[in-house]
């Protein structure tokens, strides 16, 4: 299997026999929620769609996999989403087949999808790699595979001698501790389960990786083995183990 990091996303190309473009956490419709919190912007959906389409065109995948949180508003679907989402999805479909793993924000997303596009919430295996939005306990079938998950919106802060000089979306990779997941390991699978948390495609979202580690907010993030956790930038640069980031903060 090959992974290709698309920094103009962030997005991933995962390739065994098929070429899958993975995009997580688009959060279309976030602007009406921002307005409720006092931040008024016009909808930036069009720009976001353009960026996804550019990714599709440069990578030429066989499938676009939306890894949850395609839309933003919960529990209701807002007017903004109702008007925008059908057009957005068909813009994608015009270029490539799509599939959606629903996330916690994707309540009733089904109404916008065609037959066969909606995958189960508990995750799915496509071409040997497991995909999960990341807010639920992963189904036992996913264990032993590389699990690619969204939901956590990881970001990293890098420091030089003097202070923080870069805050950027980043990938967080770690091994899962099955004991913490409270799921008996599937018999016969001795293989370790690794999980790769993808950064959000939406430009606004972001949680510092150290916060995810220290205050995990999902079954998945609670179950990682911290000593194996590693950080990558969106173009694939290996930053180092999470422990090195912590040294940074304590220094």
């Amino acid at each position: 299997m090959n992974l290709q990091f698309i920094s103009d996303g962030p997005a991933l190309i995962v390739e065994n026999r098929t070429r899958v473009l993975v995009v997580a956490d688009l959060h279309f419709g976030i602007e009406s929620d921002l307005a409720d919190h006092g931040w008024h912007f016009s909808s930036r959906s069009a720009e976001r769609v353009k960026k996804v389409c550019a990714c599709i065109e440069t990578t030429n995948p066989d499938l676009l996999l939306l890894l949850g949180d395609v839309k933003h508003s919960i529990p209701k679907t807002t007017r903004q989403e109702f008007f925008e989402i059908p057009g957005i999805l068909s813009a994608f479909r015009d270029l490539v087949p799509i599939m959606v793993i629903p996330g916690n924000h994707d309540i009733a997303i089904g109404r916008f999808l065609h037959d066969g596009e909606l995958l189960p919430k508990a995750g799915a295996i496509i071409d040997g790699v497991a995909y999960l939005h990341g807010h639920t306990i992963p189904s036992p079938g996913l264990l032993g595979h590389l699990i690619i998950a969204g939901h956590h919106h990881p970001m990293v802060s890098l420091h030089d001698e003097v202070g923080c000089s870069l805050r950027a979306p980043a990938y967080l990779a770690a091994e899962l501790d099955p004991a913490k997941l409270r799921r008996a390991e599937k018999k016969g699978t001795r293989r370790k389960t690794r999980v790769l948390f993808m950064p959000a495609f939406n430009e606004v979202a972001g949680f510092d990786i150290l916060r995810i580690i220290r205050h995990p907010f999902s079954p998945l993030s609670r179950s990682i083995r911290i000593d194996t956790a590693e950080v990558f930038l969106t173009e694939g640069t290996y930053v180092g183990p999470v422990s090195a980031l912590e040294d940074d903060v304590a220094a």
Binding site: W39, L158, E161, V162, Y238, D248
Partner: protein
Amino acid sequence: MSARYPHWRTMLLPDRLDERVRSCIKKRGFFALSDPQMQAIPLILDEKNIVLIAPTGTGKTESAMIPVFNALLSTPSSGGIRALYITPLRSLNRDILSRMEWWCRELSLSIGVRHGDTPASERRRQALAPPELLITTPETLQALFMGKRLRRHLAGIRYVIVDEIHELAGSKRGAQLAVALERLHVYAGNFQRIGLSATVGNPDEIGRFLCGARPFTVVRVPVAKDLEIAVKFAGESFKQQVETLSSMLGRKGSTLVFVNTRVTAEALGHELFERGDVEVHHGSLSRDVRIDAEERFKRGEINTLICTSSMELGIDIGRVDHVIQFGSPREVARLIQRVGRAGHQLHTVSRGTILATGFSDLLESLVIARRARANEIENVIPHMNAADVLANQIAGISVEYGEIERERVREIIGRSHVFSDSVSLLEDVCLQMQEHRLIRLDGSRIITTARARKYLAGNLSMIHDERKVPVFDMVSRRTVGTLDESFVVGWVHTGAVFITKGQLWRVIEIADGKLTVEPARKVQGELPSWEGEQIPVPYSIAREVGGVRRNRTIRDYTSEPAGIRYAENFLLDMDKNRSRVPTDQLITLENTDEGVICNICAGHKANEAFGRVISIILSAKFGTTVGIELDAYRILLRLPSHIRAADVRDALDGLDPAHMPGIIRLALKRTALFKWKLVQVAKKFGAIDPDADFERISIQKLLDFFDGTVIQQEAYRELLSEYMDIDTAAAIVELVRKGEITVTTGRLSIIGAEGLLTSRDEIPPPTADQAVIAAVRRRLESDEVVLCCMNCRDWKSRTVVSRVPATPQCPKCGARLIAALKPWEEPLCAVAGKKKKSDEERATELRLIKNANIVLSSGKKAVIALAARGVGPENASRIIGTLADGDAFYREILKAERNYIQTHRFWQ
């Protein structure tokens, strides 16, 4: 009262004034009219727009109001408001009200005050039966346009008096007021405009600000003859300074002591508390405490009041015999305004003393005192085309009219001086406002929205009503201070380090409206600090101070022996130390342990601009963060120890003044200052609500959404006009190029070390690339490595990369054929020592030898490359083969790691 004045004048205007007004003047005891009154009253009676420039306490209010009362008596009432009296402060409103109530009672005119504190019952009464004379603030005037009934009462206004107009003209509040007067013009037609101002350098600009293109007359009463200003050196230590001050307070009569910061006010108050006759007065104290202090001073129970600018405006506190300015007043206008508080009666001389507190402070005080006597006063610069003010007024106008043609709006705002040329700005602002639904555009019309009224309710004022975020220290479990919310929103995030109260803090959490921090230990290099805003010293003053240093003409400025001795000795000490004295024609760059001090006599704003430009250049050239701190005479560039004064000079020599404005825009964008201003402007634009949630949203990214918008342009405009002076900085660089200013380098001098009076440090960060490389470098340095000798094959050692010497050597056999292995490759060492080897083991041996050969030829560099993820001997020799060095070398390593990471092997 009259008997005290030897040359009182008889009334010159009896026949022009109404009998009732004349008798009031007599009743009031005004047998003599002051100069301003003599000059202003006939002009106002002639229905001229005037700007009356005169010192505080010369009867300016009466100058304006006597002829206005006269006119009100001679024309019949129309039932609405007939005269508006606008002051910048509520406390001034109350003061004016109590003075005017007497006249109105005598003349049977109705009077009222309306501002934020006015109770609802009074407001309602005013809406039904408006007073003939209404005293109000600029903000409350805004509110008058919103009510249907109140708007009707505006039509009869014939006179508008703007008091303390110099305070308003240079601010965004003033720009807003200028538009409000034009909005009033729509209802009231041409009304008479009367501006009352303290002394300023450019009264005509104040006139244009008040009247737009309409004709006006300036009546100017010079101050110099009534001012007596002395400068006294108070000693170097705070203790000496307090003693000097204390000895001056013993005399007969009352004293106002002005200080520049609240902290100084508190510190002095603390030291002088035991005297029992001193109170402190500043804006952070509650209103009750302040009013109590004012009253006690007025009644003579205490004879000293220590105050900040809170006491500058004409609030009546009774008799003041003497004014002491503790430390340089920074500006001539401020000095005159403050000293003007002394002798608050007609024809008395105002006496003031500046207590200087150090070398720069003394020279600066002397220069300011000379300029005050010579009447060389700073100009007030109005905000021209301030986009956020325009947005605020468009929202106001759209609510006022419901819907309105854009052309009409252009006409209204275009009559004001501050928006006289704003056609394209109006378009941009309207489009931006439509984005956040403050207005709707329908062809050529602007239509109000539901949001607009709500927005106006929270944004009547252009004053940034800044929420303060408490800073809570988790270690000591106490609140250590507060920060402006705009600063927190724009800059602070988890893990961020900042300075406040002279200490470093690291942010742990932003939640529940407070910032939880812990003390940070790193003290090297510096970071955004937040000390609030300071009064800048203008370029002209700093320049003259440089001239005094060059010519050593202290005796031309003062005859006070202590001051002369101190300043001359200070300069002699410079000579003894063989330090060159930086002047208006000499810039000295001095090396210190912390970095380089640039001694430039250019004032705060030019130094701010210069410091930022030079730091962005150094930062780009050396790939390091540069911290800056500055005052009017020096800039401290905090730099790593290998960057010295000579490097700063090289950067300065290579600087093209024409490029400086471009560089500074780039430099500003990532600073805390810019983000702070951006948030403020966006709030006034209605893009961010006053109570916006900033805890759960990644604000850093959101601010990028303002890129290229009129909101961002306004943040730039305001910073580049209010906070820094790039034109002057560029002019200085030009003088350096022409050789009219010399630049030298040297060791730290006592002038350089004199201490930074103010500081606002920023971090112009290096490119992201450098942060990434720094992180990777650190990781590789701390990676474990196993060294094993491929010559004797009898030595191996496990260590970390940072401890590996430049050319690793085997301690047993002395050979340099050392293989550098990753920790999990350690067992391979055993293979090398085996006598008999399988094919597979032989292949391993070959790889080890290859590995060791690279280390042999490239030393530690090879060890670093070999420690990287997925880098074996082949990759390592390719990386080293590129001959890349420094950052480029690490970039090559990153590339190799990236390739490895994208392959199958890594993910299983």
